[in-house]
Symmetry: C2
Subunit: 105 residues, 2 copies
Amino acid sequence: MSEFNNVTVVREANVYFDGKVTSRTVVFEDGAKKTLGMMLAGEYSFNTGLAELMEVIGGEMDVLLPGSTHWITVKAGESFDVPAHSKFDLVGKDFADYCCSYIEG
Amino acid sequence: MSEFNNVTVVREANVYFDGKVTSRTVVFEDGAKKTLGMMLAGEYSFNTGLAELMEVIGGEMDVLLPGSTHWITVKAGESFDVPAHSKFDLVGKDFADYCCSYIEG
């Protein structure tokens, strides 16, 4: 178990796909932003603004990165990078607990 | 939109009912603890340790409080109290965003 200290948390959840993907926004002292999220079983497409580092905390997800035709399975403790201004696809068979870090250009 | 400032957030989610109810633990400077949670459609029973103040942030849930035979609908902006060491039942038709505060005796 790990913690983020001295942070601000937005009370209201971010809700996507009828609640099958939800997250909470965490803002750090230096202004950096992460979301802590939960993805339930399903197929999802997301568009990025900033680049993202996606860390899978629990469970697993299948990921199709932009420009790739090869799905990869990302498990707890593993991560993947998504470029800014791109689209990526996710498939969850069960639930996946994740942390998404937004990377300023 | 509101925020919790200068808090600690546990990175790993609390997962109940195969992920249909999940939450993140937030600890305040004075040691007070809340969870920010998401409840998807379904029927759930929870047991309390400490007393709880449940605030519905988004969506709604139907609640059967301990000792009651009358379901109440609790909507965004509303809340209910649950005694310590008791059991309460929830029914969600859609998703409900909530904040649960744990009240030390």
